[in-house]
Subunit: 77 residues, 6 copies
């Protein structure tokens, strides 16, 4: 069931903005790991992109992933 694709080479990014983008990517890859069928995911996507509660819950995942990435990059200081 687990995807064999390598999607995380490193937690280090050049800029905080790239850190945000990596956080979003990691959140999406978790969804893909649990639901590997891309057709099903496409259908679900329209579902959560228009549902406020799910959008907020997704933002929480991104915030948590970003905290890890920010720590890894020593907050880009």
């Amino acid at each position: 069931m687990e995807t064999k694709e390598i999607y995380l080479e490193s937690l280090i990014t050049g800029t905080p903005q790239e850190g945000r983008e990596l956080a979003i990517k990691l959140a999406r890859k978790s969804i893909a790991a649990i639901q590997p069928d891309s057709e099903t995911r496409k259908k679900l996507r329209s579902d959560y992109a228009e549902d406020t509660a799910k959008l907020i819950a997704s933002s929480q995942v991104i915030a948590t992933e970003f905290q890890t990435i920010a720590m890894a990059n020593n907050f880009w200081k």
Copy 2:
């Protein structure tokens, strides 16, 4: 789907208050990344601004983003 706008130049802010404002901004930008259509977001906004459960869930996202920002700024000490 991902916005190409640079919205996070740095996690460093001058004051804790600015840190709060950055946390709120990051929470909003996550919503925008998942739902890029601003018209749809506008409609959803009125939805969550008057729904207690969603307001609380949004506050949780802000709290998590703020923790990261506060760590980045060594808590403004």
Copy 3:
């Protein structure tokens, strides 16, 4: 939409108890940032103060904010 009021001068508090009070204040200010209309907030308040699930969710926000404040104060050691 963002409040211009300065409500967070510092994360440093004299006592752990004051840290709790600051955590509660930050949680409330996040709600106010998303829903700036105080009349609407007043109506919503009675809603969540009598709904167990929302009370617990609010406690989670306070716990997260407090963790940040406690770290900022080196746990008042």
Copy 4:
């Protein structure tokens, strides 16, 4: 609305077990800060003590508060 009672003198406890008890106390005090009426809280209590989802959500609050307390005590090492 905020309780003036001092319920948190210190985050330092003698044992991990006392740390758990403090975490539970803090979680309860957050509820009391938002819903100051003890009669209302008593009614709500029977509500969440028999509702699995609310019990689990309360456990999450306790876990977060405990993490803060454990860090404050350097994990009682």
Copy 5:
């Protein structure tokens, strides 16, 4: 209402696996602290063990407790 049983002598465990088991135990003890009646808990247990949303929420509590335990053990390095 609080259980007087000592269930947490130490956060230190011999192995990561024992750390997982302690995390699960702590999550369960929180439930017991809020709902001290074991008969009621037994009934609720069958409820959440067959409800996906509650299983996932329980996993979240375990993940948080485990993070604390892992930090206490310096990640068993």
Copy 6:
């Protein structure tokens, strides 16, 4: 009720990608610890893999577990 299988020998992984896979494994093992019957889990699995809210909640668990693993590996730096 607790599984006696050793599924966590170490938090140390060779790569960040392996850290993600371990995070997913830990999340799954928590479910298995609470619901030990594999037949029941199989039925529940199809349930959450097609339910957006549950997929997002699962991603949150993975994000939390991954943060712990990333800290254990000093972020693979």
